[in-house]
Symmetry: C2
Subunit: 156 residues, 2 copies
DNA sequence: GTTGAAACACCCTCAAT
DNA sequence: ATTGAGGGTGTTTCAAC
């Protein structure tokens, strides 16, 4: 793994907060020349530390007013089933995140959708072709924090 | 609320997938002139639909190998306590998301950290000064999808 | 909505230190 | 590591349609 020094971590922290910053601004904030900063960014991109950039949308302002955390318990524990499930989830509109988890449940899916009707539409698509052991939804009442930058304060 | 037409939603979808695209590229992909596309972006930014841009980091490549979903049940249900808790969470390193949720638990926090030691450090900081009724952690075994673009296929 | 143009900022590379 | 300079590209604002 590429080891990140203090300046690398500063650069990554700054760019996680605002991905629109110019290289000049980034360089200035981390106390470097624009040239040196550019070389570091190249290295971080080549190493795959920087995955890319994403424009962030306010879900509510786009009419997406409902966030649900769906947990799933499966009956099947084969690699084939897991692969089929993964492809299934990847094709479902509204899915933002999906994790395989430990404990009582097997999968956790974050869904952002348009009201309860949108969630039901998601649910119907989710269960078509799959016979889950259990499905439950935890509804978000309020988003307190979202997409906070990763904490890079300690060395990697 | 600003109503988004088909082209707005195309623009937002494209920029959620790749925030580094130039306005020329975006304009081309949505079938517009660069000038008209620029005006739409201005409007979307002014309306707050576009919140900004974020450079995405590979957590594993930055040494952050553990994702935990922490659920909390509180003893207190006053507005003052909620505000104090919110501020507390906002200052905790490693927190990526935090939601107030319905059901058996009150809060859901997504934490990305450095191994079990990092998680324990988070836990210790989480509970200092707060006397929660219950805290539980759901550990991610595998990230299947993360930060997928919001689904804007239906009108807002 | 469109095109074209001009002024400016930014990105990337190079040379020199 | 740094500065400085140059060419190409992107952004922003015009005017005209």
């Amino acid at each position: 793994m590429l080891s990140l020094d203090t300046i690398d971590r500063k650069i990554l922290t700054v760019l996680q907060q605002d991905g629109t910053l110019s290289q000049r601004d980034v360089a200035e904030r981390v106390g470097m020349s624009q040239n040196a900063c550019w070389r570091r960014l190249q290295r971080l991109r080549d190493a795959g530390v920087i995955l890319g950039s994403q424009t962030r949308i306010d879900p509510a302002k786009a009419g997406l007013d409902l966030t649900v955390f769906v947990m799933i318990r499966t009956r099947h524990h084969s690699a084939d089933w897991a692969e089929a499930f993964r492809k299934h989830v990847d094709g479902l509109p509204g899915v933002v995140d999906c994790y395989r988890i430990g404990g009582e449940w097997d999968y956790l899916i974050k869904v952002v959708t348009r009201g309860m009707g949108g969630y039901d539409a998601f649910y119907q698509r989710l269960i078509t072709g799959f016979d889950f052991h259990a499905v439950t939804g935890i509804f978000s009442m309020e988003t307190i924090l979202e997409s906070h930058p990763l904490d890079l304060t300690r060395p990697a």
